[in-house]
Symmetry: C2
Subunit: 331 residues, 2 copies
């Protein structure tokens, strides 16, 4: 299933991309004056193979799982909070519930290992490669089945910035101290301990960047694997994938390591305050839409970025050309 | 009328501000994890004097006027484009039309001097102080009359980045070369000429920062004066004012120079690529919501920022508290 999904990813349409750039240049505004919005519109045109791009139908998918590494005391919150927050998602009381409603996005919550989470990767591999593959395929199946134009991906899992830091260290070839942040808000001593936990895990497993499945199994998380799958499944079924923060971007980076053809379908919602996030985004060649100092996860940044993408597409679709509007072009 | 509007501005409610911060801390997220959204929600609570803040009713007001200084060849576009773009606004074909629709904001286009614009301030004052005051009062009247929670302010006027650069140079005490940008897109030689035009005008009029009305009359614009008025009128009638780019921010800076009590009602939508914009925002103590490389004006950044503010307010209003949701707080 993983191989079939990867094989089904189509490259964006170059001819549409050129036609979109030509239309962009004809619209009643100085060339380039809509900044990032122009590139976003052209990207979505090429991915959707149309000059009438739209993300009107969209879902935020929040993948939730527990992390054995939380036993190392790497988070400001107790492990039980993962399940409690999943209940909060279902009850409609979490930030992502409010933000998905505001963005007119369906909210889909997927339990990929709450309670039945990963092993403590400070001591043993987080999961087997079979387990990692199964979680990826869970994400692929969900992304392919959703009848939407775009999927925003988010996550919940106490301890998962530690997993994302370990992944980012390997994927970006950066020391753990450079990519490990304060997650939900730990103090200096806890942060030093978190860095040491990541260093110890990488020394123990010696995961390799050219073996993304082995890397994911060693120090990843079930929700991170499912996010990687959602990116692959989204691209495979022609959907744009709006990735949220550090953890979601780690999942997207695993997806691109497995299948580089995923990249043109990705939109980076924002740059979080986690230090590894900017490195992962740079490695993926993605420029984030927002920079709001967010560090919540859940897909909150993805929900916030959707209206900006809507604006980019509305301007592209609805604006008049210089010729149609009778406006004089540059002197 | 100007003095009465300024006198009617109420300070935001400190008690509500403290209650809003307390509610923010009780919501089911790590403290501070919604970044800029948290400060925005608390600002709107205090300005609206409620713990149920909302900008559901909103308008984008685009003030348009011509500039005599356009005769100096400071723009990439001919002066006739101001009127042509106003027709495009009414026909629904401009970027702001698409973006206001996407943001569910009413679009109001106000002609404050199309055709009958300012004099060429490279040679004589742009307008009289009486003319500047009348344009400010026009903006006050419009802002007070709108039955909305928030006003996004934008502008159209070929040549108006030259006026904004002259204002920014005086207001920020910065040399013209530091605050003068490429507007709609001029080349190096045109840019050097534009800087020289601003330098010449400031040497001719010697406007003073402590005389905002005289400054506006010397080197301002009619739409910039009306925007200053809209900021004052918005604050005076308890509305949030979402300011767009460089030119709108120059108008807001004149408003705050006339009436410092306006400042807490302002939300800076974005940071444009115009070099003077960041200086004006810093002088106003405002942190922009977006940074998308925009340089179009029209209120486009204000329209794009509205859904982000909506998200900030939705999360604040709708999220559950730790106690209500049964989620454990920090370990």
């Amino acid at each position: 299933m993983l191989a079939a999904a990867i094989a089904a990813i189509r490259a964006p349409d170059d001819q549409i991309a050129r036609a979109a750039a030509a239309r962009q240049a004809s619209l009643t505004k100085p060339p380039g004056s809509l900044g990032r919005l122009e590139a976003i519109a052209e990207q979505v045109c090429a991915a959707q193979r149309t000059l009438a791009p739209s993300l009107a139908r969209r879902a935020i998918v929040v993948f939730a799982a527990d992390h054995g590494v939380a036993d190392e005391g790497v988070s400001a919150y107790p492990r039980a909070v993962t399940a409690q927050m999943v209940a909060n998602f279902h009850a409609g009381g979490a930030a992502i519930c409010a933000l998905a409603r505001a963005a007119r996005a369906e909210l889909v919550v997927v339990d990929v290992g709450v309670g039945a989470g990963t092993a403590n990767f400070a001591r043993e591999p987080a999961m087997t490669e079979g387990g990692a593959r199964a979680a990826i395929e869970r994400g692929i199946g969900i992304a392919c089945a959703l009848e939407v134009d775009a999927i925003g991906v988010g996550e919940m899992g106490i301890g998962n910035t530690t997993a994302a830091s370990a992944l980012a260290s390997v994927l970006c070839d950066a020391p753990p101290a450079h990519v490990t942040g304060r997650g939900t808000g730990i103090d200096d001593a806890q942060h030093a301990h978190k860095v040491a936990v990541v260093e110890r895990a990488l020394a123990l497993h010696r995961p390799r960047r050219d073996d993304p499945l082995g890397l994911l199994a060693a120090v990843g998380g079930l929700e991170i694997a499912a996010i990687a799958g959602a990116c692959i499944g989204g691209a495979s079924s022609g959907k744009l994938v709006v990735i949220d923060g550090f953890i979601s971007t780690a999942g997207a980076a695993i997806a691109v390591a497995l299948a580089p053809a995923v990249q043109p379908y990705l939109i980076a919602a924002h740059r979080s305050v986690e230090p590894g996030h900017a490195l992962l985004l740079a490695r993926l060649g993605l420029v984030p839409v927002l920079d709001l100092g967010l560090r919540l996860g859940e897909g909150t940044g993805a929900a916030l970025a959707l209206p900006i993408v809507d604006g980019a597409l509305a301007a592209f679709r609805e604006m008049a050309t210089f010729a149609d509007a009778g406006v004089e072009d540059r002197a």
